[in-house]
Structure formats: C-alpha cells, structure tokens
C-alpha cells in the first residue's frame, strides 16, 4: 500500500492489528486509546513494531521520535506515523 493511501484512521486500525497480533499479549478490550507502555511495550517490541509499520507503509520512524507522548497509545502513535508519511 502506498503512503498516499493511508489515513489516520486506517493507520490506527493497522497498528492496532499489529500490536494485538504480533507485539503484545493483550485481549480484545485493548483499544486504540489503551496505554502501550502499561500493556508491556518495551525496547525489543517497539523496534519490531516500527519494522512492521515500515513493512506496511514504507516509512521508517526513527526511535528518537518515539517520545512518551507518541507512545501513549495506538492513536498517538498513528498520528506520529501519519505525520512522517505526510512529510515523506
């Protein structure tokens, strides 16, 4: 999928899918607003997540951009990735 096709909403949905299926052990109550750090996201997981996002969107988000605010939830992370996509 090319970068122009991604909306903030579709990114949220894709990132939520990656997080649920491949990165964290969370149940169905985990939502786009759930706290990623509290759910167990750590150093290895965040890099795996960024690699999966890169595979989907073609954009690499450097770890230095992953501030506590950007990693507060899938929603805030999707907004960060979307911003990168818009600038790429």
């Amino acid at each position: 999928m090319g970068s122009m096709e991604w909306t903030a909403e579709s990114l949220e949905a894709r990132i939520l899918e990656i997080v649920r299926d491949d990165i964290l052990s969370v149940d169905q109550s985990f939502s786009v607003e759930s706290d990623l750090i509290a759910a167990g996201l750590e150093s290895m997981g965040v890099t795996q997540l960024m690699l999966a996002i890169e595979e989907s969107t073609g954009v690499w988000v450097d770890e230095s951009l992953l501030t506590p605010a950007n990693l507060a939830s899938v929603r805030s992370l999707a907004a960060c990735v979307h911003e990168q996509l818009a600038g790429s």
């Binding site: 052990s25 290895m44 965040v46 770890e63 230095s64 992953l66």
Partner: protein
Amino acid sequence: MSSSPVVDAIPLTGADCMLRAFDREARRYHGASHASQLVLRLGAGLDRQRLRGLVEGLVADAPIVGASIRRPWLGLPVYDLREPSAPRLREHRVAPRRGMPGAFIEAMNETFDARRGELLRFDLVSYEDGSSDLALTWLHMLLDGSGSESFVKALADKANGARDRIGLAVGGEAETDLSFRDRGLRAREWQRFLGGFADHPTASPAGRLQRVPQRSRYRVLTLTRDETARATETAAAKAGFLTPVMFYMAVALRAHHALMAARGTVPPSYVVPLPVNIRPRGGEDAVFRTHVSMLWFQVRSDAVGDFDALLAELKRQRQEMIKRGLVDSGRCAIDFARYMPAFLFDRMVRSTLGGELCSFFFAFTGTFLDGVSEFCGAPIENGFHVPAVLPSPGSCVAMSVFAGRLNLTHVYQAGAVEESESEQLVESARRELLA
C-alpha cells in the same frame, strides 16, 4: 487445595549451558568461577537476624539455589534438586565505610563448586555507624540480571511479610515452533553472520585467551540525580526513550576506543554483544535460569570518532538484526550448547574471532529494583550489578538506574586493564554521558 508436582530435576536452558561453558573456561584457565554480583548499599537498620533467617529458609523455598548441576550419561544438563546445599551468608565487619568492600571484590574471584550445589553466596559487611553493604554473588548460569533483581525483590517481600515464601519461579522455555532441523539452519545462519566479523578482526583489552589467574576488580560511578536526568534526557532524545540502550552502548564503545587509542593498539573493529531478554510472554516473573539471546554489533574503528554517526550505525545494525530474526537465530545457536560438551562450545565461540570472544562486555538493565526501597528493615541507599567478565576480553561496562541515579560499573581484570586505565575509561564515559 492444589499441590505442585514434585520435581527433582530442572533442565538448564541453552543460555545456562553457554554460561556453563564460560564457567568451565574460567575454572580451567583462570582458577576461578564465572560469577556475577548484585550489590545493595544499605543505610542503618538492617535486621541481621531476619536476613539470616531468609538465607536459611532459601533452600526450602527454592531448592534450585542449592541444586547440583550435572549432565546425565544420556541426557541434557540439569539442576538436580534432590539434595540441595544451603547457600552461605558470610558476615564481615569493617570500619569505617570507605569505597567498595574488598570482600565483595574477592568474592568475584572465588570458585563455586556447582557439582556440590554451591551456586550462590551472600556477603554482608557491617559498619560502626549501623550501615551495611550486602552482596549476592552467584554462578552466572543460575540467574540473569533480570532474574537476580526478581530474586532480591522476592527476598525483600518475604522479609517485610508481603509474601510467605520465595517460590520456585524457574520460568518456561522460550517458545518455538521450529523443528530440530530448522533450529539447526537458524543456528548456522547466526554462525555465518558472526563469521563475517572476521573480515575486520578485533582485539579486547586483555587480548586472546591465555592461562592467567582471574583477578576481577571493579569501580562504580554514580551520577547525581540532576546529572542522571541530563544523561537520560540526552539518551531518550538521541536513541528513543524505550531504546536508550543504544546511546549507552555508544558511550561504552567510545570509552573503550579511548583506552585502546591511549595504548596505541586500536584494532580494526570493535565487536560487542548485547544480551536480549527472551523470557516467554507471561514469564516475566521467572527468576532462576538465564533467558537470553544476543545481538552482536561490529563497528569499524574509523567509524567511532563521531558520536552521532556511531549511534546511527548501532541503531541501523540493531534494526537489521531484529528484521533478520537474529534474536531467534541467536537463541537457536545458543540452544546447541545444551547438546555439545562445554569445551567444544567454548572452542567454537572463541574460534570465530581468532581467540577473542568480543571487544568488551556491555549491559544496560534500565531501572534497578524498581519499586524496592528497603531490605530487611534497612533503606537501600544504592544498588547495582557487577557482571561476570572473563579475563579475555577483560573489561565490561554495566549501567542501570537506581532511585533516579545512574550507576556505571566498570568490571575489569587486573593485569589486562590497569587501575589508571579503568579510572580514565570511567571518566571518559562520564564526560560522554554529560556532554
């Protein structure tokens, strides 16, 4: 009421067996053990009687702490729990409190008899002002850094009545769906990856493996809370707040480069392994046995001069290794240590870099004893890890943060690294952390 099944043997993990091979090397070539240490610097108020009771009750709570390690004729190495030995608590009295107790440093150079269940020891040094220092020293294969912190947390909880017993939290195996053949292929891929490092040889401060006595020493740098806040902020800004480890590794790498440059013996490259915690999901409370894989970094010496360029290169390599699945491949390769005689595994890992294991050891374990502020009635003033380091490479930098203060421990082998070189290395790292 449910009861746990009686278990009389627990298999060593692949990482345990790798460390057992290093322990064999330490015993055979250096007359000591491959032991790690965790240090608690305590304020006044330690209840010694409670501590003695804790140590005495350990074997009943968690027999693995005194299990003998053996390899059955037809089988894989195991912790034999049938007749566990009681760990020892040695009490020393020193006055006044000045620097690190010599007893702790010497504990790193003693021999543990794993075949008789001698796997861990406690050393307590008491001072006239009522304060004390406590060291837990253990054969590295029993506990990794994360496990050792869980162990001390469990001890602290039992001491203050928050739990009845320590429990036998040995943790499950890292999960894999791979067949034996596929695991073999992954292990070969990992070996090929490491084999590529030979194009740019490295040299550690100690040089290649030799028969020299083990003489571990260490010094600890503790930053103030303000300095730590500054270093942590820089690390997060440059490397990401969940992955500051790359920043700290760059600091350690440049400090070693400065040491080698001062000697006039800069090698073509630096090779640094980074332990990766591979506890299976849900197994975060696993205490005993080691649950690690490794990522291996190689940086050419001419790429170390610019900090930001070095950091970018380390980050690139980490991403590439994770993308290629080398964490899992490393686990598969390390797992073969279970099936090979220790000497053969040791020879194999040493042969990759012409007798060197790596340029130095490095670890960043994040927040130390998160949420624990008291031990047996005494406030914990500071705490840190002292990892095992073999006489070759002879140098290790470990960092962690306790109560908002960053500790940097430089563990080195006297003879391989001079005391003045260690001082300079730590000072060089300090400057870099606060740049």
